[in-house]
Structure formats: structure tokens, C-alpha cells
Point group: C2
Chain length 116, copies 2
Amino acid sequence: MAIELRPSQALRLLHELSLAQVRDDAPDLSPRQLAILLSVYLEAPPHTVRGLAARLGVTKPVITRALDTMGQLRLVSRRRDEADRRNVIIQRTVEGALYLERLGDLVVATARSLPR
Amino acid sequence: MAIELRPSQALRLLHELSLAQVRDDAPDLSPRQLAILLSVYLEAPPHTVRGLAARLGVTKPVITRALDTMGQLRLVSRRRDEADRRNVIIQRTVEGALYLERLGDLVVATARSLPR
DNA sequence: GGGGAACAATCCGCAGCCGTAACGATTGCG
DNA sequence: CGCAATCGTTACGGCTGCGGATTGTTCCCC
């Protein structure tokens, strides 16, 4: 069953979500950071800087910096690939999983409260 | 009918949307800017700097700067309130309406393509 | 084994946004 | 009237992210 949604409902949903994100003290991730985080958690591992840069269509330093920031927030972690030590494997963390879990719940709750 | 959505679908939706936004050459608005834009277009006018600041829980300069940026992008415009010349009324523009229309359509299309 | 390729990180200058604190204009109340 | 309050903007110092170029390490292949 596809998700049926009208444009007006879609915009209301975005509205509520953006308001919640802005008001949260939670460190609001930039669109790029969120895209990286979701790619790491939703797509099949392994994830490398190179791969993520290609996936998002941005340069590698962008990925490195975003990982620096989100690493400090404990949302992801990095590990050397021992099989090929040039690679860095981006790993999920408990905190990152919790963050996305709460985010998903927020979306669900917001969608449910939309007027029909 | 409430919108039924599972958390995993919600996250997939956010994933696709953030990827689309990052890859677009379109000037990707910050969460705050998007919240302001949606408030202006979805909530009843009139909109003032003061009111938007209170609505988002941020300081007034944040609103002023966001309006500067989005004004240059022609997404919103400003006008003095002639009844009380201390106030500034934030107005919608054709470009802003088009921007949101496209955004809404993107969300709808993405939601429709989600696996069930 | 040596040289080039691949990879992530770092450096650099730059632009944008932040919060706090001021400021000028306008209003309305005492 | 005049003076405090309100409103939006601007100034300031700081922080973060950006693109592009470079660096150091590791691998691969001849």
C-alpha cells in the first residue's frame, strides 16, 4: 500500500517537523548531515567516505567534516578498515540509533495528527 | 483519515527527501529558514518579525537575517505596516508559492514510491 | 620492489549564520 | 507634551561549514 498524501498535507507535515526541530535544543543537523546519517543507518554497509561522497554528490572533505561533527555528537563512529587500511568504515552507534528512532516516531506522530 | 505511516517508512521518506535536497542545485534552506517560510505560507497573516520569532522560539535578528536571505531569493517580501509603522509585514511571493508547491509535490511523489 | 593510483584527512581563505548588545524610528500613555 | 516601551535592524565577535588544493598513508600492479 503506497502512502497516500496530498500536497497540502505534505506541507503541513514539513511545517510541524521543522518547527519541532527548530525548537528542540537538540543540535539541529544540517540537511547534509541528516542525509549522511540516514544513509549510514538505512543503507547496507560498509560505508566509506568515498562512497558517501559519491552518493550525495559532494566532495570528500564535506563528508569528513560532517563525520567530525556527528562523531562528537556520538551519532556515528569511525574505524579503520583492517582489510584495506586506506578505507575508513563509518559505523552506527547506540546514540545514533536512538536519535533516528525518536525522529521516526516524531514523523509518525505528526503524520497521524494531520487533518484529513 | 489519518495518515498511516510506520517509523521505518518515515525514515525512508526523510532519507529520500534529504538526498533530493542535497543533490539539488536549489539553494537548500536551513531548517530555520524552512520553518519560517512554511509559517508564512501556511498560517494566517499578518506575519511580523516579532511574531515569527516567538513562534519559532528564536531571537528577532535570526528572523531578520533569514528574511534578508529569502528576500534575495524572492521567496518572501517585506512591507511596512502603514497602520503601525514600527511593524514589518512579511508577504508571500509568486516564487515562494511555486517553491513550496514543488516541495509538496516532491514529498507526495516520494511518499507514494515508498515500499509498503 | 618501486612508482603510480586510491583514499581520507588537513590546510587555506571565504562566506553565512549565531547570540548579545546596541541603535534609530515610531507609538502611546501618563 | 515628553518619555518609556515597542519594533525591526544593524554592529560585533565568534563559530561552523564550504570548495579546492595538498599531504600522508596504504595498496596494487608491473
